[in-house]
Symmetry: C3
Subunit: 474 residues, 3 copies
């Protein structure tokens, strides 16, 4: 009885708390304020509305979060309802919670905050981080555990972003470090904490033909809109470069995945898991430097390295992590988000260290504000108070430092969160409940029977199939 009301009580209470926090602290920003807008119109101040400019790319990112991540996770044959359904729940919960936490932390007026199209976009970015972490623990956590994870992860995520982006002033336009690496290593830390041996014994962790096709819906929509993800917050020439670089990096990583995956296979075949995931690694790896002057060939090189690395990771690293090291990375987020995110961080440091005014003109100080000396921002100015900006090498150092800070936040935060998730009050799935929709969903008996039947058929027929093979061989 207590179990029955538990999810409702906890999540319902939190949702009501959101209402209160929004009511007390939240408001529309300048552009959504009716009175201020009226005032501007009356005084002939023709302000440019940001929404029409930003909305198309926001919508693309929205597709990535809800369709992309959602369907990507449906590869599990018996966990399709949960993958797509809980993805929706998690993201819908996260985007509210992030608005509140981020709003309060970045508030300059005692916690009061405003929302606008840009804050919706950053909330979606935060969803990406949480969904990446969810990928690492997919099939092994209850809905309640995911809700608790969000509560902690978002606070830590916002703190890390504040330290790296605001204090250390690093450039990370596509969030490869602060979103992808963070989400992946936070998730892996949680996965390590909640690891149980029976995860390895489950027979349900696998895909079937149709579930792999559903998963490709996710892959392709993520693939397509990655240029939007990496360029949504960039501007002018930087935005052009972000689109171009991401387009070529992700194309190159795709070709690399097919090439490397055929090399690694005995029959020279492609690997579906690698194609579903590693093809996207180029988009992650180019994320930090997407708006920089890396030239198309630089983007292609980053893509090739990322795609190859990720494919090799799926083949060799994941089995080791899953079976020996006591991680168990259901979706392989280390290969798709973790390592490519670190690669992006390193590339970001190198590119920053090589950035010069000759190569960038004054764009340099828009892209790396900390490199501007105070007079360069003030124009032709007084002699006093000249503060010299960072050198390229220094900026590179800060970029590297941010990677380390992010790893520290992610791993420590993930471990603490994981420990809390181990409390025996969150209805954690066990044994036969792992990787199975049944504990979460009231599916009709017929559907259950049908799935069971398929599984039985499968088992029986695998034997038949092998017999036949033997017969054929004889």
């Amino acid at each position: 009885m207590w179990k029955r009301g538990k999810f409702f009580a906890i999540v319902g209470t939190l949702q009501v708390a959101f209402v209160i926090l929004f009511a007390v602290l939240g408001d529309y920003d300048e552009q959504g304020d009716a009175v201020k807008s009226s005032h501007r119109r009356e005084h002939g101040e023709h302000e440019e509305y940001e929404l029409p400019k930003l909305y198309p790319m926001f919508a693309d990112v929205h597709v990535m979060i809800f369709v992309g991540f959602g369907f990507l996770m449906t590869f599990l044959r018996r966990y399709g309802y949960s993958s797509i359904g809980l993805n929706l729940l998690v993201a819908a919960f996260t985007c509210q919670w992030h608005t509140i936490v981020f709003g309060m932390i970045s508030s300059k007026t005692f916690g009061y905050f405003t929302v606008g199209i840009e804050s919706l976009l950053t909330a979606d970015f935060a969803c990406a981080a949480v969904l990446i972490s969810m990928g690492a623990v997919l099939g092994k956590t209850s809905p309640l555990q995911l809700i608790v994870m969000i509560l902690f992860e978002i606070v830590i995520f916002v703190a890390n972003e504040y330290v790296t982006v605001t204090l250390l002033q690093i450039a990370d336009i596509g969030g490869s470090v602060v979103v992808h690496s963070f989400g992946a290593y936070f998730g892996l830390a949680v996965a390590r904490m909640i690891f149980k041996k029976d995860v390895l014994k489950s027979s349900k962790e696998g895909s079937v033909y149709h579930s792999d096709l559903f998963s490709m819906i996710g892959t392709i929509f993520l693939w397509i809109f990655w240029p939007s993800f990496n360029s949504a917050l960039a501007e002018e020439d930087g935005q052009s470069r972000a689109v171009i670089n991401t387009y070529y990096a992700i194309a190159a990583s795709t070709v690399a995945v097919f090439a490397v995956s055929s090399l690694l296979n005995k029959k020279s075949s492609f690997d579906m898991v690698a194609v579903q995931n590693a093809t996207l690694a180029g988009g992650v790896a180019v994320g930090t430097t997407a708006n920089m002057v890396i030239y198309p060939y630089g983007a292609v090189i980053i893509g090739i390295v990322a795609g190859s690395l990720s494919t090799v990771g799926y083949q060799f690293l994941t089995p080791f992590l899953n079976e020996k090291a006591g991680f168990h990375d259901t979706c392989g987020v280390n290969n798709l988000h973790g390592m490519p995110g670190l690669l992006a961080g390193i590339a970001g440091a190198v590119v920053a260290a090589l950035a010069t005014p000759e190569k960038y003109g004054d764009s340099l100080y828009k892209l790396y504000p900390a490199m501007a000396s105070s007079n360069s921002t003030l124009g032709n100015t007084s002699e006093v108070n000249i503060e010299v900006g960072r050198t390229p090498i220094e900026q590179g150092g800060y970029q590297m430092a941010a990677v380390c800070v992010t790893l520290a936040f992610a791993i420590v935060g993930g471990c603490v969160t994981g420990l809390i998730l181990r409390l025996p009050i969150w209805d954690e799935p066990k044994g036969g409940e792992l990787f199975d929709d049944e504990p979460n969903w009231s599916v009709s008996e017929e559907t259950n029977a049908l799935i069971d039947a398929n599984d039985q058929n499968e088992a029986v027929l695998t034997i038949d199939y092998k017999k036949k093979e033997i017969t054929n061989a004889v």
Copy 2:
């Protein structure tokens, strides 16, 4: 023989009639007129083209109509071809017919009309109303019946829109009243008229695992682009608010659905049907007030109420309506569009009654043109001919009146249309043809056999499964 040519003869004739009507009456609007555009360019009148501004949101709505509604209906296990295929046919037919009917009715020049990006968008909105109605009668109507339904529904839809939006001057930016409520209650009235007992006996009305996942493609795309639906026709600060409010309302309704649905279930599980549908209720319920100053917390409250109401509706109201009351609402449109649309209408009246110049500035008169006194629109003006605009309370009254008018149009119109659909000349499906693709599609014998096999398996295995359960229990 007559049957064979019937669909071709009727639909072919109508499509040729469309050609004639377009040829006689239709033209491009100012922005698509080559001669006028040339003229403007020559005289240096740099007109702003609407298309690039409106097109991205139009494209999103287009996705909702064809992917969203189409796949949402594929949950029926044996009606997938029809769901997605007839959705395409119905929308393709409707968008032409609406252009003509709306064009002629709103014409100021004896029936001549022009088309442009905004008319394409309103045609897509009309498709939404028709597809909602189709959801109520899904699996129980022949393609011909759907075509006949469109012919009547569009005329009544346009008439209702004229009365409520043009004459009563109500605000309903997302069309929750004039599109969603109208479509739902029109469809339910038709469903009541064509109700037959054998609908309740059909064994084919149900989903299987994969059909539920296909349905989620529809759900998610509708979910994602709902902010575009509610804000496409809004402007400036109103558009910002429409996006923000819809984003938070639909997120909150999603969380509410999961919470309430777990409370209502004995095993504390989530319900797939509720997740597929009720999660969207927040988008409907906030539609009328999306561009108003309801603040983010207002949007969240509307979302919570809508999601909860819709979930409860699926659990308790739908079984009653389907089995006792002689409605039979295949897709549960009352829960997703009907009740949330009414909720939107009531919220619209309350928000209007509370609208003051202090809260809105001069935006008030853009949002509620009937509240403007004639001098407020004329600026600093003569003393004569001051006509006092509506008070907030009056506007609220008009908003409520529009809800009632819409219900009347929908129910009376739906009943009349339903009676016509009962004429025994439209090849209405009966008995085993209900909820089945076979009468509509030439599927290969193999496919039929395979589906049959699955059904047999299912039946057999349900028994096996129950036996096993009993055995396990013993």
Copy 3:
């Protein structure tokens, strides 16, 4: 052993060659150049950035290429991994190769080229041509053969585009001639060259219920975004017309397909293959004239003719081509892209021949630059050097000539490419490997067994089903 490394060696080498070519020859265009942008900002030259204007439609086209074409091809029941996976590989490879080839050929500076949002869009268009060709040979070619096909096809595609668009100065805004016809007839020529009798014996060429629904994902996304495809490169009033005309043409072709398909069927049913493909024919057929003054009724007529023609083609022409004529057009690209593309070409010639300044104003010379006399482009000008532009009839002749040139390039190029693909070194699939994922993918034994089981069930149950039918009949 050699086989194992072959794909990696060839594709890896090509991808590295791309890096080198990009490094030596490629750069960002003006809008992505950081130094030039800085310079413009300093000098207060407020250039309008193209990206925000072009990106939304580019993103739509991107969806068509990767989701649309990819899922459209998943109708084959055992070739789903390859359809969606190789679609991704082919497009990712093509978009790089096209950038290089097109960049070098259209370069005015000894092969050096720049990339920007418009070149990304044209690269996506080139992907469409290649994927259309791939549709003709789907299931009958190895990944290596596809890579080799791309290498040749892109060079020939760029050459044909140069001759028709640059030299002959034809108007073909949606690329119906230079993309769709070209891709279709190139692909058919290749298919004829590599034709083998065992293709006709394969039992795997067919769809199942779910694979048809996956295919509809592709259909619908192509359908929705066709207005973007036809209008992305159009401007101002021409862009408005392109959107409107495509919207109505594709809607009308959809209605026509349902009507004609029910007429052709004995039981008056619809045909799934026609609905998946022929519904799109209206988008192709209106592509060449989309931005012209054809009026909505003209678009509707083109749509009706295209949809009907395409449906008839699927019913009567494809079986003949496949079984008697030694073509074997897996996806029926002749019906969807070939014939509608030719229809577009003819419509383009007729519309050009009827184009007059009275109908177009000065827009005429923007739409058909070759019709401008040199003084009309120079404005009020000197008497010397007046070169008279083409007459409408002449322009119509050039349009027709371009259709013939394109057919010649496609057929000759396709034949040569097909001969090269017949070299016994590309691991061409044979016998049981046709239309089967197994040679290309390492799928788990369980998945194979399951597919096999379904096939067995299907065979057994087809018999059962027929027995039952006989029993029922008796």
